[in-house]
C-alpha cells in the first residue's frame, strides 16, 4: 500500500546529518527512488556518530546511519570539483525532487542555487533545509540541534518537570535529534505538497525553503497564543501540572494520573480508586480548583498507585477509559506486545553491520512487501548503477572519476 505511493518518483538527496536524510527517507518509505549523495571517503557525518555494535566505530555500522538511510541507494560525489558538479547537474536533470541541507552560502559558492538548477529542470521541486532559512538576518548563522531547539523555543520549557530553581537549572535539549527530525518531517510534507501542486496545478516545480528553527517554533502555537491572548509568558518552572507529572507505582513510574483533569476524567478516576473520603473535598470540586490544588492530591494518589505494578495500573486505567500510560524505557519498548503485534520493528540485515531491528514507518501497511525494503547503502555502493547504467558513463570513466577523487 504505502510503498506504491511514490513509485516512479526520483528523489536526489544531497543531505547530511539528520534533517535532510530523514526527509528523503520518508519519501523512500513511500516508494520513491531515492539516490543519496555522500562525499567520497568520509561519507555522511552520521557514519561517525553511532551507536556501533560493541562500541567499535566503523563507517558502515552506525545505528543512526542505518536507520536514516534505509530505502535509498547511495553514490559518492565530490561537489567541490567541477566534474562532480557536472555529474550533480546531470542527476538533477532527471529528478522530481532534490532535498539538500547545506548552508545557503555553500550552495551559492558552488553555483548550485535553485535559480541555476531550475533552468536545467523546470519541474524540479527543490527542498532546501537550513538552520534558519535561505534569507534573513540569521541566514549565515551556524546551527546545531541544541541551538535550533533553544532558539525555536521548545528548549526553553524542556524539561517540563523538575525545574524547581530556574536560576541554576538550565533549559535542555530533547534526546538525540528531536529538532532535526521535526524539520525532516516538515520537509517531507512540503515535498509531497509540492509534488501534488505540480501535478494538479502548476506543471512545474518550486523552491521550498525550510528553517530548522522555524520547524521547532511552529510547534509552539499555544505559547504564542498565550502571550497574545492573556499577556502571559509560559513559565519554565512548574509548567507540568496534575496528571502530566510522573508518579511512582510499585515497580516504576506512571503518567496521566492526577486530578487536574476534566470533570468526566475526575469521575472515572474517583470510581477507579473506590471513591475514598479525600476525593469529596470541596477543594477538588471544580476543574479550576483541581488544577490549582493538584499537588495537594498527589500524596493520596501515589499512596493508591503504590499498590499496583505498571502493568496492573495500565490495564486498570485503560479499562476505566482514563488516559494514562506507563513510563517505558527502551527495553520496555522492545518488550511491548502491542508494538510487536503492529510489527513496529523490522529486522534489517546488513552485510557488515549485522541484523538489527529498526522502527518501521509509522503506519500499518497492508502490503506483503516489508516497509523497510532496502537496507542503508554502503558508501558509494550504487556508483555503477547510477553513473554507468543510468547516466551512461563507461567503466573507464568511473575509474577516471575515482582517480580524480570525484567519486
Amino acid at each position: 500500500m504505502a510503498e506504491g505511493i511514490l513509485d516512479g518518483t526520483r528523489v536526489i538527496e544531497w543531505g547530511q546529518m539528520v534533517s535532510g536524510p530523514w526527509a528523503a527517507r520518508l519519501l523512500g518509505d513511500m516508494g520513491a527512488d531515492v539516490v543519496k549523495i555522500e562525499p567520497p571517503n568520509t561519507g555522511d557525518i552520521t557514519r561517525r556518530i553511532g551507536p556501533f555494535p560493541q562500541d567499535l566505530p566503523h563507517p558502515e555500522k552506525s545505528g543512526l546511519y542505518l536507520h536514516l538511510n534505509c530505502n535509498k541507494r547511495g553514490v559518492t560525489l565530490d561537489l567541490s570539483t567541477s566534474t562532480g558538479r557536472h555529474l550533480f547537474r546531470k542527476l538533477v536533470q532527471g529528478a522530481d525532487v532534490l532535498i539538500e541541507n547545506h548552508s545557503p552560502l555553500h550552495l551559492e559558492t558552488l553555483g548550485l542555487t535553485y535559480d541555476r538548477l531550475r533552468s536545467l529542470n523546470p519541474r524540479l521541486i527543490m527542498v532546501s533545509i537550513s538552520p534558519f532559512g535561505q534569507t534573513g538576518p540569521y541566514r549565515d548563522y551556524v546551527g546545531s540541534e541544541l541551538v535550533i531547539f533553544q532558539m525555536g523555543g521548545v528548549g526553553y520549557e524542556t524539561p517540563l518537570m523538575d525545574v524547581t530553581d530556574p536560576e541554576t537549572q538550565p533549559p535542555l535539549k530533547g534526546p538525540g535529534y528531536q529538532g532535526y527530525f521535526a524539520a525532516g518531517w516538515l520537509a517531507a510534507t512540503c515535498a509531497l505538497t509540492g509534488l501534488f501542486h505540480r501535478e494538479v496545478l502548476l506543471g512545474e516545480g518550486q523552491l521550498i525553503d525550510i528553517s530548522e528553527q522555524e520547524a521547532v517554533a511552529s510547534m509552539l502555537r499555544p505559547n504564542v497564543a498565550r502571550f497574545s491572548y492573556a499577556g502571559e509568558v509560559a513559565p519554565r518552572a512548574g509548567a507540568a501540572v496534575g496528571g502530566v507529572r510522573f508518579k511512582p507505582c510499585k515497580d516504576g513510574f506512571f503518567v496521566g494520573l492526577g486530578i487536574g483533569v476534566t470533570d468526566d476524567g475526575w469521575k472515572r478516576l474517583r470510581n477507579l480508586m473506590g471513591n475514598p473520603e479525600w476525593t469529596t473535598s470541596v477543594t477538588f470540586a471544580t476543574l479550576e480548583s483541581r488544577r490549582e490544588h493538584a499537588e495537594d492530591a498527589d500524596p493520596f494518589i501515589i499512596a493508591w498507585m503504590m499498590g499496583y505494578t505498571k502493568a496492573e495500573l495500565f490495564d486498570m486505567v485503560q479499562r476505566a477509559g482514563l488516559s494514562a500510560f506507563p513510563m517505558n524505557n527502551v527495553a520496555d519498548v522492545y518488550a511491548s506486545e502491542q508494538l510487536a503485534f503492529r510489527g513496529a520493528f523490522q529486522e534489517v540485515e546488513h552485510p557488515l553491520a549485522g541484523a538489527w531491528r529498526l522502527p518501521v514507518p509509522p503506519l500499518l501497511s497492508s502490503d506483503e512487501q516489508p516497509s523497510l525494503y532496502r537496507r542503508a547503502p554502503l558508501l558509494g555502493e550504487h556508483n555503477d548503477d547510477i553513473y554507468c547504467q543510468e547516466l551512461g558513463y563507461t567503466r573507464e570513466d568511473l575509474v577516471r572519476f575515482r582517480q580524480l577523487g570525484v567519486i
Partner: protein, 406 residues
C-alpha cells in the same frame, strides 16, 4: 492570487485536541476546505482548557488561544454523533469529501461509524486517516492516550532531563504538534496516491510509532550494546562545550555547541580567554568531555556578564553555533522568524485581534496561504447543512431542536 495546491479538496475533520487539528491546519492553509465536525455535547477539548490562554483571561468555548491558534482557516459544524441521525448526516458530509481525519479511540470510532469499510461503502475512493496512540489494531487498539502518555510509552521521557533524574517530558507538549505534521505527510501522500491510481486508502497512524522513529540511536544502542538510555542533560557525544549557559538578565540563557577544534579555538578567543586554548584539560574533545563541569563553570563566568544576544553575535561572527533560549516573548520578537512572516494577526469575532503562529516553510510558488480566523463552535452549520448537503432551513432548525445538530 495563484491557486493553492489543495483547492477543491474537502476534508471532513473529526479530529480533536492537537495532532489531528495540526494535520488539517496544514491542509487548510494550503487551500483545502476543512470542515470540523464538533459537538456542544462534548466540546473539543482545546476549547475548554487553558492551553494557550483565554482572550483577556475570560474562559469561553470561542475564546481559547490554544484552539484558535490551531484551528484557523477551517469551518465548524455541530453534530452529536451519539445520535443515529447525526451519524447519517456525517456520512452525507463524507460522501462529498476527499479526506476524513479522525482521532477517536478504536471503540468510539466504531460506534460513530468511522471505520474504513463503512466509509468506503459511502465513498469508494475516500482517504481515511486514523490517528491514535498505539494504532487501531492489536491488543491495545482501544487505548486512550494524549501527548505526554504517548511520549512515555515510547520511552522519550526516560531519556530526557537532568542527569540522574527519573526523566521528564519535553516542552511544547512535544511531540503532539510534530505528530500533526507527520499526519499531514500521510494525508498528502494519500491524496497523491488517489490522484495517480484513483483508489482510496486507509492510513492507520500510531503516535507512539512516530516517536520511535525519532530515537533510533537510543533504540539501536540498546540492541547493539545493551545500554538503556538515561537522561543526559545537554550532553552530546560529538561536541564540547555543549550546553545552555546563564546570561545577563532575568532567566536568560544562551545555547552553545562547539562542534570541532577550530570552533573551540574561535570560542576561546571570542570569549577573551586565549589561555583556555593552551589548557591541557581542554586540549581535545575527549579532554573537554572529561572536564565538562569545569569547562561549563568557566564559560558561565563569561556568559553571565553578557546578554544572550551579545554572546550569540560574538560567537556566530567566528563561526560557532550559538543562540538564545527563547521564551514566547523572545520568539515573537525574533528577527529571523519575523523576516519569514511567521506571525500573523487575525480578527476573531469573539476573541478579537490576536497574534498567531503562521504555517511554517516558504514556497516560492505560493506567495500567500489561506488564512481566516478560527470558527466559532457550529458557526458554519448553514454552510455545511444548507449549502453543502442541500437541506432546507426548516429541516436544519428541526434537527437542531431535536439535538441532532448540536
Amino acid at each position: 492570487m495563484s491557486k493553492l495546491p489543495f483547492e477543491g479538496i474537502r476534508v471532513a475533520d473529526f479530529g480533536w485536541v492537537i495532532a489531528a487539528p495540526a494535520c488539517t491546519l496544514w491542509l487548510a492553509n494550503m487551500g483545502a476546505e476543512v470542515i470540523k465536525i464538533e459537538t456542544k455535547a462534548h466540546p473539543e477539548t482545546l476549547r475548554t482548557i487553558n492551553h494557550g490562554g483565554y482572550a483577556d483571561g475570560v474562559p469561553g468555548l470561542n475564546r481559547a488561544g490554544g484552539f484558535n491558534s490551531l484551528n484557523y482557516s477551517k469551518y465548524s459544524c455541530s453534530l452529536d454523533l451519539t445520535r443515529p441521525r447525526a451519524r447519517e448526516l456525517a456520512k452525507e458530509i463524507i460522501k462529498k469529501s476527499d479526506v476524513v481525519v479522525e482521532a477517536y479511540t478504536g471503540s468510539v470510532a466504531e460506534r460513530f461509524g468511522l471505520t474504513y469499510p463503512e466509509l468506503q461503502a459511502v465513498k469508494p475512493d475516500i482517504i481515511l486517516l486514523s490517528i491514535s496512540s498505539l494504532g487501531k489494531t492489536g491488543p491495545l487498539w482501544d487505548a486512550t492516550g494524549f501527548g505526554p502518555a504517548n511520549q512515555a510509552y515510547a520511552s522519550l521521557p526516560s531519556m530526557t532531563g537532568y542527569e540522574g533524574s527519573i526523566g521528564s517530558n519535553m516542552g511544547g507538549t512535544w511531540p503532539d504538534y510534530l505528530v500533526g505534521i507527520a499526519c499531514a505527510y500521510l494525508a498528502v501522500a494519500g491524496l497523491y496516491y488517489r490522484r495517480r491510481t484513483g483508489r482510496g486508502l486507509h492510513l492507520d497512524l500510531s503516535m507512539v510509532q512516530v516517536v520511535l522513529n525519532m530515537i533510533p540511536g537510543q533504540l539501536l544502542d540498546y540492541q547493539m550494546n545493551g545500554r538503556i538510555a538515561q537522561p543526559q542533560g545537554n550532553r552530546d557525544p560529538m561536541a564540547a562545550p555543549h550546553g545552555v549557559y546563564r546570561c545577563l538578565g532575568d532567566d536568560k540563557w544562551v545555547a552553545i555547541a562547539v562542534q570541532d577544534e577550530e570552533q573551540w579555538r574561535a570560542l576561546c578567543r571570542a570569549a577573551g580567554h586565549p589561555e583556555w586554548e593552551a589548557d591541557d584539560r581542554f586540549a581535545d574533545l575527549s579532554s573537554r568531555q572529561r572536564n565538562q563541569h569545569e569547562l561549563d563553570a568557566l564559560i558561565t563566568q563569561w556568559t553571565l556578564v553578557h546578554t544572550a544576544t551579545d554572546v550569540m553575535e560574538k560567537l556566530q561572527k567566528v563561526g560557532v553555533a550559538a543562540g538564545p533560549s527563547q521564551n514566547s516573548r523572545d520568539l515573537i520578537n525574533d528577527p529571523q522568524l519575523r523576516h519569514r512572516n511567521q506571525f500573523i494577526e487575525m480578527d476573531h469575532p469573539e476573541a478579537g485581534r490576536r497574534l498567531t503562529m503562521a504555517a511554517p516553510a516558504l514556497f516560492s510558488a505560493i506567495p500567500e496561504r489561506r488564512y481566516f480566523p478560527a470558527p466559532l463552535l457550529d458557526q458554519h452549520n448553514r454552510r455545511v447543512f444548507g449549502e453543502l448537503l442541500g437541506m432546507s432551513q426548516q429541516e436544519i432548525d428541526s434537527l437542531t431542536e431535536a439535538g441532532v445538530i448540536f
